[in-house]
Symmetry: C2
Subunit: 145 residues, 2 copies
DNA sequence: CTGTCTGCAAATGGTTTGCACCATA
DNA sequence: TATGGTGCAAACCATTTGCAGACAG
């Protein structure tokens, strides 16, 4: 409990943040890696992961961990919502008017100290609606995601 | 697009669902595997995965895919909310009074056809509040989860 | 019998980590 | 120059999959 670590501004770190800020597409680490490689051809995927981790700890980025397989990242730190396409997995910001959460009951849900919440919508994106390809692999049309 | 598959009721499938229904702890596949093994010692983890997948497709179980690493499963199919402990990752049901989502704007968020939403709370569970162990690895107390 | 399901083990795929070298402060 | 950061590759770990034998219908 003595000294604070010194944090260095490396080129990689800067470029990663810059590229993330340019995007509003909530890239996965590896998508971002590909983008960043255009400016820093030798950068490794590991470095991208380490820096995204670093940036979220610093509050400069946000890990989405939206339902799905890969974690997605977002440079917009303010609290906002997302929509995920159940077919192609893309994630967009949800321009949903902020609505009042019942902060009354919120302070103590089942004994938990509530720190926040995340609201995720899921549905079918414009793209996939057009090329409406149904999965239809089974008799039951449930999705249950 | 001709015939429906025949679905068989195997002992494994039955036991997996039964055990899942007994629980309200949102087990991961491997947690459930361990439980089921007490009744079916030879069952494999792969079978548990395959059946959980099957059961969610049939609407008998629900994949939570709550933020975190592992997918968690729930036999309660009705729409309800969850709280996740940011420290120990356990997941509980959130006994939050249902509140009205702005269904007005909901039908078309950014061109998406909205199928539903998921609301997740995060916080610190009673257990972890007591044994309040702070992470404190950095100067910045952000969590950003 | 037929075709689905299981157990097993190997393969995936996203993410993390150990290590030696590099570069920021 | 000290030490945090990087590149590389191997390690991890949850989940998926191929295959041969088992079993429900």
């Amino acid at each position: 409990m003595s000294g604070h670590k010194i944090h260095r501004n490396t080129l990689q770190r800067t470029v990663i943040l810059e590229e993330l800020q340019k995007l509003n597409s909530h890239p996965t680490a590896s998508e971002l890696h590909i983008l960043v490689q255009k400016r820093l051809p030798k950068i490794s995927l590991g470095t991208v992961y380490r820096n995204l981790e670093y940036l979220s700890r610093r509050g400069l980025a946000q890990k989405l961990t939206i339902s799905g397989n890969e974690t997605r990242f977002d440079a917009t730190v303010e609290h906002h919502q997302h929509v995920r396409c159940v077919q192609c997995s893309r994630v967009d910001d949800a321009a949903v008017p902020p609505f009042a959460l019942p902060h009354a009951g919120l302070q103590d849900v089942g004994g938990y100290k509530i720190l926040g919440y995340r609201l995720e919508f899921y549905g079918v994106c414009p793209e996939c609606r057009r090329t409406g390809s149904e999965s239809g692999e089974d008799s039951d049309p449930h999705d249950n995601q």
